[in-house]
Symmetry: C2
Subunit: 143 residues, 2 copies
DNA sequence: CTCATGTCAGATCAACTGAAATGG
DNA sequence: CCCATTTCAGTTTATCTGACATGA
């Protein structure tokens, strides 16, 4: 690979992300799901029933993509949508019992990916890694 | 943002890469270039004249994308292509003097991005960060 | 009138695929 | 015949834009 990129932090992060992305998308595909689906299920479990727009903001997914993902999640029986009682524009999305189990299942898939992703680091290195990457990740999107 | 993702290394790396990508593409766009162009110029400077396929392998860019990028680089006078003397399939690509200056200019753009990207870390943290990210980045694509 | 919501069609961008034409 | 190279057209995936209808 290029010498000029060896020592660049942005390049190393790019490689790490590339590996992360491969592990994640393969693991979710093998599990019959997608990262977007996981994030929406997680948002609903964390905050309770939400409108689609709220679910999108909480999970960091565009509303138009939320629409598409919920189509599949509804289809699979993991979520249910009903008209919002007090706001006719909104649809209230809630997790089903089956959706809760699906979330738990995907949690284990995700944990397994973390283990493989962090395999090159020992325990104290992982701690350092979290601290450092978080500092960078928080920049520009703090709070 | 989602609690479930706060502690996931893959998510933090995703955020870091997102920031890196924003800084990089904005900086290169403002400089009137693109990351692909930089990488191809860097490959030619490092290895001397190359066929397009070789330049692609060295810079990690698909041959079809190399074709497109070289169209622009040739147009701008940063590279020149001629038939390979001993292999009629290949085109030999070489850096022009102007291309060499362009590479130097983009080097400063890239350095500036590194500075801003790593701003949240002090000197010893940066050192740690390089060590740790490299361990992860090298996994799956070692050597 | 304005804004938010849900939906849809499509743009964008990086990365990749497949095939054709040419030559080793 | 098989493989490498260059080129082109087009696919994929995630992300985002713009527009529309509806309702607050």
């Amino acid at each position: 690979m290029l010498k000029r990129l060896h020592g660049r932090a942005t390049w190393l992060v790019n490689l790490a992300q590339s590996r992360s992305h491969t592990l994640l998308s393969e693991a979710f595909a093998e599990a019959g799901s997608r990262p977007y689906h996981y994030r929406i299920l997680a948002a609903l479990e964390q905050a309770g029933p939400l409108s689609q727009a709220e679910a999108g903001r909480l999970s960091g997914i565009d509303r138009s993509d939320v629409t598409v993902a919920l189509e599949a999640l509804d289809q699979a029986g993991f979520t249910e949508r009903q008209p919002h009682p007090s706001d006719g524009r909104k649809k209230l999305v809630r997790l089903t019992a089956s959706g809760r189990r699906e979330l738990a299942r995907l949690d284990t898939v995700l944990e397994d990916v973390q283990t493989r992703f962090l395999a090159p680091l020992n325990a104290s290195e992982r701690q350092q890694f979290f601290t450092l990457v978080r500092k960078i990740a928080d920049e520009g999107a703090p709070e």
